[in-house]
């Protein structure tokens, strides 16, 4: 009853907030240019940015218990968090093109069940074994920017660097530490270069090097001096030669910090764009990513686009993660109507190579996975995945059905290697998603993830179905693995209520 009361209060407050948000929409705000001549001027005329967010996520990941499992194996697994927080940031006005900025991010348990045994989604701080508040200085930078050059040194958000990005799908985003340089001196060409020394996980309070951030693990916990698993009942993800002293008793990377120099170029013309990116993590892996998109408009009412992507990942230097030799590619077709409808069809395939880390699974945890079929839970990055996905998005405001509302439906089928003899076999699966975004400040013209000032609500739900018609006993016997349950169908639901100022 108490919880209901608090929830009602919060909802009432947010509705009021929304109704008030319309008030100033049509006011004209004419700002006179301010001359910045001193440090004091720069601070006085800086800009504040803030987000007040309520975010909750619930994932009911029931297990499929194997027939030969002991009787006490649970088939229930519920993960959930409910949090309130956001960010508060400030950047000075540019003085001789230089500015400095800082942003604090915070997430705090709120209502709902944030029990310790429901952790794992990453909306709250989990490193101490529970689900607690966290506060972190996620941005602290010095910036130089003119019409053609932009240099940022320090902690910063890097939203537009493809494999490096915010992945803002929990409570606070990834931010990165290092130096970035962007050049736009040639028309149509944007060059991005960066030297990244660390990454803050979404719910982390420390910046970790780029190997830890890639979540490199042995897969089987502790390994002996020859690099073999001590617990032979689990799959070893690392393949080939590697230095086992770089891994701790839990099987996590514990070696020297490794940085990531990277370079990217985006060339855009009226009807096409091409991108080439290279991410080199010292003594770990090099990732090449290529992307191209061609747009054509067969009629005034419809716009079409075709896109392709390709990536290749190879171990480099000392190869602290063992052998890495994998790739993926993707194809995409898209059609957008002038009255707010968008349809798309995607295909992705990832290499299957048992001599590569985890059979060829791509390392993608430095940002949002780039695969076209990276949906709500499934990312299509696992070894050997062949996925086909389709979806439709409707701007109900433009369609004249319901102002301020955008909805999206998606479905993807993920066909994974599942032959019993395969070391890295996994269950086939499918995901269906529904997204809704409602804005209190815009009537149309925005997407599910568009950054908008004012109040908005985003609701997302996914249903994941897992194939379980496998001979698990035979698979365990062939490979010597020891497990009692596997993933079963689940529902993943998320809600964000954001006020951005």
């Amino acid at each position: 009853m108490k919880n209901r009361h608090y929830t009602t209060s919060a909802i009432a407050a947010l509705i009021l907030l929304g109704s008030q948000a319309f008030a100033a929409e049509n006011e004209v705000n004419i700002e006179e240019p301010v001359v910045i001549e001193t440090v004091a001027d720069a601070f006085k005329n800086g800009k504040v940015k803030g987000l007040l967010r309520y975010g909750g996520q619930h994932r009911d990941s029931n297990y499929h218990v194997l027939q030969d499992a002991p009787g006490d194996v649970s088939n229930e697994k519920v993960q959930a968090y409910s949090a309130i927080g956001g960010y508060l940031g400030y950047e000075t006005a540019p003085l001789h093109n230089f500015s400095i900025g800082a942003t604090f991010y915070t997430s705090n348990p709120f209502i709902g069940s944030n029990a310790d045994d429901r952790k794992g989604l990453g909306g709250l701080y989990e490193a101490d074994g529970g689900q607690d508040s966290y506060h972190v200085l996620g941005e602290a930078f010095l910036k130089y920017q003119n019409d053609e050059h932009r240099v940022v040194v320090g902690r910063q958000e890097m939203p537009d660097y493809r494999f490096i990005s915010l992945s803002n799908i929990r409570f606070t985003p990834f931010t990165h530490e290092g130096a970035t340089y962007e050049n736009t001196s040639i028309e149509g060409l944007k060059v991005n270069a960066a030297y990244i020394t660390g990454q803050k996980d979404r719910n982390g309070i420390e910046f970790q090097d780029m190997v830890r951030s890639a979540r490199v693990k042995t897969g089987c916990g502790a390994v002996d001096t020859s690099g073999q698993c001590i617990n032979t009942g689990s799959k070893q993800t690392i393949r080939g030669d590697y230095d086992p002293s770089n891994f701790d008793a839990s099987g996590n990377y514990a070696g020297e910090d490794k940085e990531m120099p990277m370079l990217g170029a985006i060339y855009s013309q009226d009807n096409f764009s091409v991108e080439a990116w290279n991410y080199y993590v010292n003594d770990f892996a090099n990732t090449v990513y290529l992307y191209g998109k061609y747009n054509f408009n067969p009629s005034a009412d419809w716009k079409f686009a075709l896109a392709a992507q390709y990536s290749n990942q190879q171990d480099v230097g000392d190869g602290v993660g063992g052998n890495v030799d994998t790739w993926f590619y993707g194809l995409k077709a898209e059609a957008a109507s002038s009255n707010g409808m968008l349809f798309f069809l995607n295909y992705n395939e990832v290499s299957y190579n048992e001599d590569s880390y985890d059979g060829g699974t791509m390392f993608v945890r430095w940002g949002t996975p780039q695969m076209f079929n990276s949906f709500q839970v499934q990312d299509s990055e696992l070894a050997g995945t062949k996925s086909i996905g389709a979806g439709a998005q409707f701007d109900l405001g433009v369609l004249g059905i319901l102002d301020s509302t955008v909805i999206r439906f998606r479905y993807a089928d993920y066909d994974l290697p599942d032959d019993l003899n395969m070391i890295d076999a996994r269950q086939d699966r499918a995901e269906a998603t529904f997204d809704l975004r409602y804005s209190f400040t815009k009537t149309s013209g925005f997407g599910i993830f568009t950054q908008m000032d004012g109040l908005s609500i985003q609701f997302r739900i996914a249903y994941d179905s897992f194939e379980n018609d496998y001979d698990y006993a035979a698979y365990k016997a062939i490979h010597g693995y020891d497990f009692n349950s596997v993933t079963d169908d689940f529902v993943d639901a998320r809600i964000y209520i954001d006020y951005v100022f």
Partner: protein
């Protein structure tokens, strides 16, 4: 009842202003910040030396505080930079020496002509429970604070604190500087300045699971002329009602504080001198009280008369303010401390302190502080040097 339940209301009261759009509430808000560079060196005649450099400060945002309902949020951070040794001993960071980022304020406020009520994470300024801004990250408190000034010349404060965050932690817990607080701390404070040249204040802290404390202070001024005056003050701190978490011999506070402090000084236009005295007749100390630094007259940078085991302290303080120049204004200070304890378990010491503080302008300052502690017993002598540069915006 968990405090988190109130958090969604953090910004909602401003919405109750029917004639006022939410956009304006935020646009009329104000941001304040501070950037601070802090270098701290502790020299001891042993391996306990410590030094560290930190960069940090705070960022604070408040919605339009002219409205009856408003909200405020503040983050503090202290990040280690450069060389350091035993940096956890400098209390600039977390207890383990890691960088520290905290939410020091997040409250909703209600304001009328003579009353202010704040609920949430608060920074306080009371004798036994305050923020202590001598590092970068202060102490802060979770609860409710009411201030009423409806009675002429009188300010009444009523606080209820259920959790406390130490200046070396990012978590609000039921742990005060003196021990666990259990069901919390309720404080009633009254300040009265209705008598010419006389200021009176008294506080009572009720902490049934720890210890309760009564404080009283009177300050009197004899104004000689436009620039000169004589100041006198008296303080009294008395604790008791020890609860299940009370530790009588705790140097930060226990159920046997019995401290009297006196002060007499001369204040001129650009110079002041004062002689301060305190005697703690109790076994309990009062160094940090419930949180922060207890506000006793005999307080220098490190040296103080607030310790446990019945210290008697004499402190001579003087400060001189240089004329305003092209580069701003400086002041220098010198303090001598003499402490002798009336219990053999305590430490006798003499100390001298000096500082130079320069304000380049109202926003920018450089503060150099040094104190030498000369212990008369077995305890290792120590020198403390702090260099603090701060910029406010």
């Amino acid at each position: 009842m968990r405090f988190y339940y109130f958090l969604p209301l953090l910004f909602s009261p401003v919405l109750l202003m029917a004639e006022y759009g939410i956009t304006e509430v935020f646009e009329q808000g104000a941001v304040h910040g501070q950037i601070k560079l802090f270098s701290y060196n502790i020299d001891k005649a042993s391996d306990e030396d410590a030094y560290a450099n930190a960069v940090g400060g705070y960022l604070k945002y408040s919605t339009d505080t002219k409205q009856p309902f408003y909200a405020s949020v503040r983050f503090h951070t202290s990040q280690p930079v450069g060389y350091n040794k035993n940096r956890e001993d400098t209390a600039l960071f977390k207890d383990n020496g890691d960088a520290l980022t905290v939410n020091s304020e997040a409250f909703i406020g209600w304001r009328s002509t003579y009353r202010v009520l704040k609920v949430g994470n608060l920074m306080l300024n009371t004798p036994m429970m305050n923020d202590d801004t001598t590092r970068i990250v202060p102490w802060s408190y979770q609860g409710a604070a009411y201030t009423g000034e409806a009675i002429p010349d009188t300010k009444v404060q009523l606080n209820y604190i259920r959790q406390i965050r130490s200046y070396t932690s990012d978590e609000y817990t039921k742990e005060s500087a003196s021990g666990e607080i259990g069901s919390g701390i309720t404080m009633l404070g009254v300040q009265y300045d209705g008598i010419k040249n006389l200021d009176l204040q008294s506080y009572y802290y009720y902490a049934p699971d720890l210890y309760s404390t009564f404080t009283a202070q009177a300050d009197y001024k004899i104004i000689i002329d436009e620039d000169d005056m004589i100041c006198m003050g008296i303080q009294y701190f008395k604790s008791g009602n020890g609860g299940k978490y009370a530790q009588t011999e705790n140097k930060n506070g226990g159920d046997d504080i019995d401290l009297v402090a006196l002060k007499v000084g001369f204040d001129a236009e650009d110079w002041m001198v004062s002689l301060n005295y305190s005697q703690n007749f109790g076994i309990s100390g009062i160094v940090k009280g419930y949180g922060g630094l207890a506000k006793v007259f005999t307080t220098s940078m490190i040296a103080n008369g607030r310790g446990n085991y019945k210290p008697e302290t004499w402190m001579l303080k003087t400060e001189y303010e240089f004329p305003v120049g092209t580069w701003g204004q400086s002041d220098v200070a010198l303090t001598f401390t003499n402490t002798r304890v009336k219990d053999s378990r305590g430490d006798d010491f003499d100390a001298y302190y000096m500082h130079w503080k320069h304000r380049f302008n109202v926003d920018t300052s450089l503060f150099v502080r040094f104190e030498n502690m000369d212990y008369k017993g077995d305890k290792s002598d120590a020198q403390y040097l702090r260099v603090i540069a701060a910029y406010d915006f």
